[in-house]
């Protein structure tokens, strides 16, 4: 039977890291057992401190999401939207570290305004349908150009409306993810919104009023500007990939 160990050994024992011989001694020695118990109660006291229950502010994750490139994996299927003649140029672009460019503030502000205004006025949809092809036909007719409407990966497609970004005709597709409504704007090629979205595809940023904005590539090469009160990864993954 060993003698009473030093305090460092008792500290190890409190963490159940002491040897069997030490453990056997502690089981037989009231003084050592009392010291080990005191060390363990110290741990209880620390865990009961208010500081031990602090949680990170929710803005921490949000700000981080807005500042890092979510960088969805590159797949051959995802690159199918590239116009072949420009493929080399685009490949060179995506090979560059995209860094932490912010979505242009004007675009974010305009898109959020249009998103919130429509819901506040109760005019979010001119055409309600959960059929992506039907919604695409409605918008194509309204905008006088072909548009593609992807089905959602989760939640539901609600419908669409014609609207404007920076005073130029734009399509808006409405999705619902749980209790959250999301607008996907489809700016026309060459429009101010489309130009502002150049080189921003794959980026998300926090916007005003608790909204998040993501600029995602469409299958036709045109940008999709998504706005909703969702974390960036959730917003960016709302649409099903083909």
């Amino acid at each position: 039977m060993i003698g009473c160990p030093d305090f460092e050994t008792l500290s190890l024992a409190a963490d159940d890291l002491a040897s069997e011989a030490v453990a056997a001694h502690i089981a037989e020695c009231a003084a050592c057992a009392s010291r080990v118990e005191a060390i363990r109660r110290l741990g209880d006291g620390l865990r009961a401190l208010p500081a031990a229950r602090h949680q990170a502010p929710p803005e921490l994750g949000r700000r981080l999401e807005g500042r890092i490139d979510l960088g969805r994996p590159r797949t051959r299927r995802r690159m199918a939207w590239m116009i072949p003649a420009a493929a080399a140029a685009v490949l060179a672009l995506v090979a560059l570290p995209l860094g932490r460019k912010a979505v242009p503030e004007a675009l974010a502000d305009e898109a959020v305004s249009q998103h919130l205004r429509a819901f506040a006025a109760g005019r979010s949809c001119q055409h309600e349908s959960g059929d992506a092809e039907e919604v695409a036909r409605f918008l194509s007719g309204k905008l006088a150009r072909e548009v593609a409407v992807p089905p959602p990966a989760r939640g539901r497609l609600v419908g669409a409306r014609g609207c404007s970004l920076f005073g130029e005709r734009t399509g808006a597709v409405i999705y619902q993810d749980g209790a959250v409504s999301v607008t996907m704007f489809l700016p026309a090629p060459g429009s101010r919104a489309a130009r502002a979205s150049e080189n921003m595809q794959g980026h998300c940023a926090p916007a005003r009023d608790g909204q998040t904005i993501c600029v995602l590539p469409g299958e036709d090469g045109e940008p999709r500007v998504m706005v909703g009160e969702l974390p960036a990864p959730q917003l960016a993954s709302l649409l099903a990939s083909r």
């Binding site: 005191a38 741990g43 500081a51 990170a56 502010p57 921490l60 981080l64 960088g71 994996p73 990864p233």
Partner: protein, 179 residues
């Protein structure tokens, strides 16, 4: 590793990172800043994380290193590193919800004060062990020291706290003193 994967790995540890940052900086606002900077730095160097299962100590180590680099560049008014008593140097600044701050300080004041009086390496080791549940190996990784050093820091921290609390008449429950 893309941003989405990094976020999904790091998110479960946001609370621990923030608590640790708050301990280091003693300020809610500075803790937010330190935690965010640490996450951005960690993302930048994410390819150096060899084992995704060890992301927690890796994040905490990043925060600690950032904090140490900052204070080395500042005037030495942050006194925790040299183990001086509270009341000397910069006191923790009330931030955010003042009522919450006052409540925190009311109880259990003695234990919090005693912890704050320890040298940073000892109080951090003890915090990481008791509150954040890190193993000795993980603490060694955070503090970039041998495991034997972690062992002795924990013992010294525990011994000092017990001794402090024993001499504080308001906390009679703790029995058993340091060797």
């Amino acid at each position: 590793m893309n941003g989405t994967t990094f976020l999904s790995l790091a998110r479960p540890h946001f609370d621990a990172l923030f608590r640790f940052a708050r301990r280091l900086t003693r300020s809610h606002a500075d803790a937010e800043d330190l935690a965010q900077t640490a996450l951005l730095k960690a993302f930048e160097y994410r390819e150096t994380l060899r084992d995704e299962g060890r992301i927690k100590p890796w994040l905490l180590r990043t925060a600690r290193n950032l904090h140490l680099n900052r204070i080395r560049d500042e005037r030495p008014h942050l006194v925790l590193l040299d183990g001086s008593r509270p009341g000397e140097g910069t006191a923790a600044e009330p931030q955010g919800n003042l009522e919450e701050e006052l409540h925190e300080r009311a109880l259990p004041d003695e234990l919090a004060l005693a912890l704050a009086s320890l040298p940073e390496d000892q109080s951090s080791a003890l915090w990481l062990r008791e509150v954040e549940g890190l193993s000795y190996e993980e603490i060694a990784e955070v503090q970039q020291c041998p495991i034997g050093t972690v062992r002795s820091r924990l013992a010294r921290a525990r011994g000092a706290l017990l001794e402090h609390l024993q001499s504080a008449p308001s906390i009679p429950r703790v029995r058993g003193g340091a060797a």
